[in-house]
Symmetry: C2
Subunit: 590 residues, 2 copies
């Protein structure tokens, strides 16, 4: 029975006097992309999806995922060992409360759970016991070492502001709130604050570490010193001290008697627990870097425009190639092709996420990830959906296009669906709205045209995007379930309504947009608008012009004219000619 990691973990739990244990997918930064050393859930269960949680009891074990991983979790885990549940329909706290024996002590690793997450188990009446070190680590004999990629300077030519400036501003914020220090556990916050980048995890160019920002503007950075070459050490300056990760508990203990800000949703509960034990006064407030990081400064705004024009060259070449690919290439080959075209730019630093390259029925799998096992040819007369992005030092891109492979014309129903998605996209692209509104208030505007036909899509309309940082960035998103943080100038969001017909096809049109002040002469208060950043043709064959209003058609034609004007001159002649025809105006008949 000890020949599986699950059985070994149970033996360890027995030894610890625990009746259960939580195994989240998260790492110590509660991030989306993690290093192999942090992938305990995959080690224990075999499940490699990017979101999930296992609960191990003495005689049962369950793994909770969302809908996008329902198939994958079945394929990767042993049904004799693991029950599989939907994380929304059967929330783990309720499941534990219902299935653990009365009085059960359930262990958790306080570095892998946020205070708000822990609270949900306590609210459900579960007795939770913090366990350190994580008992899985003792069983995981071939656990990979932690990543030690170097942290490198992120020049002010890209960052737009000196780190000292940012630190001074945040320190003033802390002082005004009567706070002595803030704990930073999100490596993206540290990367932004200190103007550094790294490559410890795929897709997001930050260096894993922790930091304490003091109310006088100094920073204690906790990061393996070998990750900081002399050039980076000098770049950080004297106001930033560097200590090994192992020095963290002692540093927290020194905050005895201080008021310390800890993010209750974004930071591991270990920090609040350790601080409270040390006699600090923990203030539960969001990471102070979140909003300033999200509001890109003018240099970052110029950078993202340049990155998007550069990215658009690769996308245009790719879209032209795809038109001839049906019958000649697979989904995987297409994704590889696009990454290769992006890589021709010297500024390219890699993908911003694993591309979604789905033909036909695969397009309906919202988070489809093509692999050797699932790969299939792109065929004539079907839809092909490609959602991809690049990292460049001046900006992060993320764009989705859905194309009809031809040669026949697409069916009328499909054009109807695609045009309703496009109407939603245009509703966001053309929106002006008063400052103070938040994502939950605007998400519906992208759906009204679909709703009229009884259709909808099961994801948010948009997410925040970083500046040469995470392609999914808080605190603002265009989603009903988001916290109502007001949308502010400088924030980059995606605009990506879609429609998915299971087993048949998926449609999504995604551009990134930059929040800008709107210049409305008669405005009674400050208004905002979205500047569209992404530049690539939207497949005209999928547009049913009679479903568009005059204004919507005018937007589409103006957008295409802009794409041709801004991207065309950077293209080789054949691609430029192709782009001109892909961007030709649609003239309404009648």
């Amino acid at each position: 029975m000890h020949n599986t990691p699950l059985a070994a973990l149970r033996a360890e739990l027995d030894r610890l006097g625990l009746q259960g244990f939580l195994v989240p997918r998260a790492d110590e930064h509660l991030g989306e992309y993690t290093a192999p050393a942090a992938q305990r859930l995959a080690f224990l269960s075999g499940f490699t999806g990017s979101a999930g949680l296992a609960v191990v009891l003495k005689d049962r074990a369950a793994i909770f995922t969302d809908g996008r991983y329902a198939l994958q979790v079945r394929a990767q885990t042993d049904p004799a060992l693991w029950e599989r549940h939907h994380v929304i329909e059967e929330p783990p706290p309720a499941w534990v409360a219902a299935n653990a024996p009365p009085g059960a002590r359930i262990g958790y690793d306080p570095m892998l759970v946020a205070e708000e997450g822990l609270q949900r188990y306590l609210d459900a009446g579960v007795t939770m016991v913090a366990v350190a070190p994580n008992p899985i680590d003792a069983l995981w004999t071939d656990r990979p070492p932690p990543p030690l990629a170097p942290a490198v300077p992120h020049p002010v030519a890209y960052a737009g502001r000196e780190s000292a400036d940012k630190r001074a501003e945040l320190a003033a914020t802390l002082r005004e709130a009567g706070q002595d220090a803030a704990i930073l556990t999100d490596p993206a916050s540290i990367a932004w604050l200190l103007n550094i980048r790294g490559s410890d995890v795929p897709f997001t160019p930050f260096a894993l570490g922790f930091a304490i920002l003091g109310a006088e503007g100094g920073v204690e950075l906790f990061m393996a010193p070998e990750k900081l070459p002399p050039g980076t050490r000098a770049w950080l300056g004297n106001a930033v001290s560097v200590q090994d990760r192992s020095a963290l508990p002692a540093a927290l203990a020194r905050l005895n008697g201080k008021r310390v800000r800890v993010d209750p949703a974004g930071s591991p509960v270990w920090f609040a627990q350790t601080l409270r034990e040390a006699g600090a006064n923990v203030v539960a407030e969001p990471d102070p870097c979140l909003l300033p990081k999200a509001c890109k400064n003018p240099v970052e705004q110029q950078g993202t425009r340049a990155a998007h024009r550069r990215d658009a060259v690769a996308v245009a070449r790719f879209l032209r190639w795809v038109e001839g690919a049906a019958g000649h290439a697979t989904e995987l080959q297409a994704a590889t092709r696009l990454a290769g075209l992006r890589a021709e730019a010297v500024e390219y630093r890699g993908e911003s996420f694993s591309a979604i390259s789905g033909a036909g029925e695969h397009g309906a799998v919202i988070h489809y990830r093509v692999s050797q096992e699932t790969d299939r040819p792109i065929r004539p007369n079907e839809l092909y959906l490609i959602d991809s992005g690049g990292q460049y030092p001046d900006g992060t891109t993320d764009i989705t296009r859905t194309v009809w492979t031809g040669p026949d014309a697409p069916p009328a129903e499909l054009r109807d669906h695609a045009t309703r998605v496009l109407k939603g996209h245009i509703a966001i692209a053309t929106l002006v709205f008063p400052q103070g509104l938040a994502g939950p208030h605007l998400d519906a505007l992208a759906r009204v045209a679909l709703w009229r036909a009884g259709l909808d899509y099961d994801h948010g309309t948009g997410h925040g995007v970083g500046s040469y940082l995470a392609v999914h960035e808080g605190p603002v998103s265009l989603s009903r379930t988001a916290r109502p943080v007001p949308i502010a100038p400088g924030i980059i969001l995606s605009n990506e309504p879609g429609f998915y017909l299971p087993g048949r096809y998926g449609i999504r049109v995604e551009n990134l947009v930059l929040v800008q002040p709107a210049d409305l002469p008669a405005a009674i208060r400050p208004f905002l608008r979205f500047e569209t950043l992404s530049l690539a043709p939207i497949d005209r064959r999928l547009v049913e012009p009679t479903l568009l209003t005059d204004e919507e058609l005018a937007w589409l034609n103006a957008y295409h004219a802009r794409v041709e004007a801004e991207v065309g001159p950077a293209l080789d002649a054949p691609t430029r000619a192709w782009l001109a025809s892909a961007c030709a105006p649609i003239i309404p008949t009648g």
Copy 2:
């Protein structure tokens, strides 16, 4: 110094060892309309608005209101005694924390504050002390007696369901949640649950009282026995016991050891405090009547349609009269006229709120309440806004129309503003949306047309409406600030976008709508739509057809055709002829 109530209160606070005291406008039911005996804020300060809060410290006193009462509070209170603050811009908890001396003990009447309201003071670090009885009552020598209007049966022909049915359903809900009882402090909940009505306060036909609903379906009703005539006592049946209000503490004490549900936002904190002291386990959950009461049953739905057709007769006669009133009538005379026309229906039971009758610049005062002091003539060539409603045993109405008094044509800018408001109204009237959406997600849809011109309005798009109950009813409203409670079939909401140009004019178009399942053949999930209930012409002179889409114009013409068809036959001949011309279709030119 003791010759003002404020000075007398301060002396009383000294005696009690308190450094401050909260004086909310609310009564013991935390309701919108209160009996004179509960109007302590007016007694203390002179301010009679429907929302407000005073904080009395030893050497300062402040009164907090929202924007609609900014002028009124200045007119009614003595600036030598009272500072005046905006309740949103300077929240009272922060003001108390900043202005009370360190360590100050601030008193509050636990019958006048909800648990969530109290928590905001505790979160701000204020030491709060419950005080009973309310020290104001000892000073208020001419305090009116509490109202003793009789509670009367609300027949099943109107209610649509036996009280026993409702009690059995709610009792099952409590049992499923493992709750032994629920505290009901909202008289509207009690009126709905027990199928009774009353007349203790203006506008809302309920009887003031409290109740405990048990998990077996029995109810303990706490209400002065003299308010319950024998017929009502018999109507309540044996499962409902009646005790005087004074028996409440003993009844709560009997819940020792029980799990008792108390609404943390809608019930006075006294209930939770008293229950906890008695050893009960308080579960903080919303009043269990809120959602079932809001979801009108088929009989109530038929009733509201009948009430709206009846109400429409009075409104049509009024609107015809208003066309000739410019130069001949005042705002107050107009409001009186409309109430009189409504009163011609034998079913009329009174206004559902104090009508807003505002000409010209008064229309821009969102909650304008005409009085002898503010009354002014309705003049030619201006806008006149009338927002009013009636109570009928089969339904509650609430309708706003804005009319141009003529004889000249209205200016183009005014027509632009009015048409944008109308576009917002039509956006809601024609909306279909998936079940699960809530008010905060849909409110923006009514604003997009205004936003495009830099305009907006500073109130929610709609509120819930009761069935011969409160004209403002929870838990659902079309508002950004509402809790995201999903909109459900049977709920009645107002649809009332507007636009207000201070000092010039106000525009609002309000109909009530009834949430219905939408019949969309291709729907991928359950969808809902709004059935418009209110039937009155929308002033065609204010419509700029070139700003309307074909679909919007089609909606307006179809609505007007329906108004004529449903209301016309019930009118006298001259009004019917007038209605026909007011409802004539608009034919777009060109």
